[in-house]
Amino acid sequence: MSFLNVKDLSKNFGGIKAVQGVSFSLEKGELLALIGPNGAGKSTCFNMLFGQLKPDAGSVVLDGENITGLKPRKIWRKGVGRTFQITATYGSMTVIENVQMALISHHHQGFSFTKRATKMYREKAMEMLELVGMAEQAERGTATIAYGDLKSLELAIALAHEPKLLLMDEPAAGMAPTERQALMALTKRIVEEKGVSVLFTEHDMDVVFEHADRILVLNRGQLLANGTVDEIRSNPQVQEVYLGGGTTFANE
């Protein structure tokens, strides 16, 4: 049994079959990329894995536990961290407070009213910021930092409760090319150090081919290919989808 098992995941929006019978697995400490053209169903897949969408069919089993259809906050408590395509951070807090909030929630202190929030779990939060290279900006207002830094901050937030699985939806989108490589290198290092499993989507193929251990290719809601970097690179079907063999829409 793999660490994460996804079986026959499906989702329809009205008549559109956004995701159809997608199955795959993810091993411990593996960096798995989910790629595909726009509209392939990557984000839908992600949102089902993290509970923002309820799948119409199929199951998601994490570490032997069925987490299908649970709410995001419950899935997070099972040890799943999440970063978003468009960053979701607390603009009216400082950088470090963003990480502290994740820790406060992790220790079930969200309703506590006996201490000042900014004084709680500071050391641990700083550790996380150091890990992603944001320590110097800890006291800045989050609304004022650069977009690339927000992406790094999201990673720090997602890692705060030491998750077993990280779901990263286009972690490097909107960053400069050098920043992208740095962020993914960092992610890879963390995976190796902490034994975290990562599933990420990405449009930048350089990033994917350089850092992913294995690649899943989605096209029009279906899993097209599943293999190592070399296998995917040489897969004629994948080439067709990406380079446009002219047959993608042939049967329409």
């Binding site: 607390y90 929030a117 900014t118 709680m120």
Partner: protein, 623 residues
């Protein structure tokens, strides 16, 4: 049989009258996303202008022509309001727009009083609907014919609206804009012109609604607020922005009321809100409303992190508190009571700010908890002979309990929907207090609620209020800094992120709502023991607006905002009342000017202070 038929027809007629007014409101909201509180004022103006025109006219043609002309005149007034007041703030957060339209209400109220006087006016009967033609016999029961005419008028208006929306370019653009106004403007439609057109049409409908009402109910200065709750209820039930929804909801509510009055004559008002509650349990966005997740910040985005109060600011606070402590030495009577009023309002405003500023939830019915606490204390004293200390202790719990029930319905919605629903529920509470006179004495209020031990006006009472109000404000401030307050802020900044780090945003919002309600209840109980009486007024929309204005004046951004806002508002109010009979209008103009010119409220000035007094990270590092 005839009796029930007449009852049904009466219900339908009321529904039609309601629909005329409410359709304009929902139309304006659908396209411009502005909740126009001054809609009730346009309705009132419709009746007044129609009165003047009818008095000048003669014959059937003159009469009906006057009603139509009144509608057009109100449409033009609506257009002027849109151009002057709303056009500059279409991009502002919803709170500011709501505050601005409230300013318009105040201005129109005083304008109407200045032109037509404070006395109620009775309109002439419609020609052809007088004398023996005034009623018609339906299976043995008499039915006023004018009520039937209203049905005919409303149905014709519905027909005309249908034609406009389905057969004219303007109407199709309006429908498109209701669905997606960004897209419509991206397609090159002159949005500004479209908005103005919609405002004219919507206001005209309100004006016609008011004019048609004239022969039945006359014209009075109370019409603006009286119509507000029913039209908001039907707009919320129907689904905001849906004309058809408003029509169905008007019929549902009015017909149920027409029959409800036979069985529960004491609770007709409550019945309307019960219908709303039931509909919203099953369809939180109304019958024909679509779910809308607003990513916009209703109270404006806050970008500044909370910083610890600097030592200079602490000194300022301590000085103020010290001054308050010693003030009974050199102040007495009236002046001391003014300070008590300011303190109570500071606490009330601070409690609203907690949910509105820290939580980003614009509550429009905060007076429900303030009045709730006031009534809770007053009822305990009146019926259970409770000593003041106990009554003040229990009031926040009872107000919190009310907030729990209301909050359960409301926190499921966001943005302007949340605002509407809190307003509607506050009106429920008001109508219970107003109509359940066996217990609450209705409009006569509960009087003689003076504490037995401490007499009001005494210095001891002053200190009780001082300690509890300042204590409450400090508690609210402290709470904002705890994880509980931070979780609430987090939910406001990004509920997506909150859910993704394991937080139950709705539960946090709900508990914060209860906490804020309880603190408002404390303020209400202090109010009761200061005045010695309480009237349903303490729960009205106007009272909720007072709190909103205080928070707005002080600026939503800072925790000190509500305090300076409440002080500024109360003192400004006292001063205006002393110098002019038309203080409302002056206040309204002032509010409108502040919304347009100083979009951050008085915080523009407050910010300056904060920059001087707040510990910045640099300062901290330098230590």
């Amino acid at each position: 049989m005839g009796f029930y038929l007449v009852q049904l027809l009466t219900g339908l007629s009321n529904a039609c009258a309601l629909f005329l007014v409410a359709s304009g409101l929902t139309l304006i909201f659908g396209v411009t996303r502005i909740v126009n509180f001054s809609h009730g004022s346009f309705y009132m103006l419709g009746a007044y202008i129609a009165y003047t025109l009818v008095e000048q006219s003669s014959g059937a043609f003159g009469f009906w022509g006057s009603l139509l002309l009144a509608g057009i005149a109100v449409g033009i007034i609506g257009l002027i309001v849109e151009l002057i007041v709303l056009k500059p703030i279409y991009k502002s957060p919803e709170l500011y727009q709501l505050v601005a339209t409230f300013g318009v209400i105040l201005v129109i109220q005083d304008l109407a009083q200045w032109i037509w006087g404070a006395e109620d006016l009775f309109g002439r009967r419609a020609p052809g609907f007088k004398g023996e033609n005034a009623t018609v016999d339906i299976a043995g029961t008499l039915m006023p014919t004018y009520d039937l005419a209203i049905i005919a008028i409303a149905l014709s208006v519905l027909g005309i609206l249908w034609f406009i929306f389905n057969r004219t370019r303007f109407g199709i653009l309006v429908r498109a804009a209701t669905l997606d106004r960004e897209m419509v403007s991206a397609l090159g439609v002159n949005q500004s012109l479209l908005f103005s057109g919609v405002f004219f049409l919507g206001s005209m409908l309100a004006g016609i609604g008011g004019a048609v009402q004239l022969p039945k109910g006359g014209a009075s200065l109370l019409m603006d607020f009286e119509i507000l709750s029913p039209i908001f209820v039907v707009v919320v039930i129907g689904g905001m922005g849906s004309i058809w929804g408003v029509f169905v909801a008007s019929i549902l509510v009015s017909v149920l009321q027409a029959f409800g009055v036979l069985f529960f004559p004491q609770s007709t008002l409550v019945l309307m809100f019960l219908v709303m509650a039931v509909v919203l349990i099953f369809r939180p966005w109304g019958l024909y409303g679509k779910e809308e997740s607003s990513t916009e910040h209703a109270a404006g985005e806050i970008k500044e992190p909370l910083r610890e109060v600097g030592s200079k600011m602490k000194m300022v606070f301590l000085t103020i508190i010290a001054l308050l402590i010693i003030s009974p030495i050199f102040l007495e009577g009236y002046n001391l009571n003014t300070i008590i009023d300011v303190l109570v309002f500071c606490l009330f405003a601070a409690s609203l700010h907690y949910i509105l500023g820290t939580g980003g939830l614009v509550s429009f019915g905060h007076a429900a908890f303030y009045g709730g606490g006031a009534y809770a204390a007053a009822l305990l004293v009146t019926y259970a002979n409770t000593p003041m200390e106990l009554a003040i202790f229990f009031a926040p719990f009872l107000a919190g309990f009310v907030a729990l029930i209301i909050g359960w319905f409301c926190v499921r919605l966001t943005g302007v929907y949340f605002a509407m629903l809190t307003l509607a529920f506050a009106q429920v509470l008001w109508s219970i207090v107003f109509q359940w006179s066996a217990v609450t004495k209705g409009d006569d209020g509960l009087t003689d609620v003076y504490p037995q031990i401490i007499t009001s006006g005494s210095i001891l009472h002053y200190y009780v209020v001082l300690i509890l109000a300042v204590g409450g404000i400090i508690l609210l401030r402290a709470m904002a800094h705890t994880p509980f307050g931070y979780s609430l802020r987090g939910g406001r900044d990004s509920s997506l992120r909150s859910e993704a780090i394991g937080m139950d945003v709705k539960l946090i919002q709900m508990s914060s709502f209860v906490f804020a309600g309880a603190m408002a209840g404390l303020a209400g109980s202090l109010f009761v023991f200061t005045k010695g009486s309480v009237f349903p007024d303490e729960m009205t929309i106007a009272r909720s607006f007072d709190a909103l204005l205080m928070v707005f004046l002080g600026g939503v951004q800072s925790l000190t905002g509500p305090i300076s806002g409440a002080a500024a508002f109360t003192l400004l109010h006292e001063w205006l009342v002393q110098i002019t009979e038309y203080w409302r209008g002056c206040l309204g103009i002032l509010i409108i000017c502040i919304v347009i010119l100083l979009p951050n409220g008085l915080a523009g000035i407050g910010e300056l202070f904060r920059n001087i007094f707040t510990k910045t990270p640099k300062e901290e590092a330098a230590k």
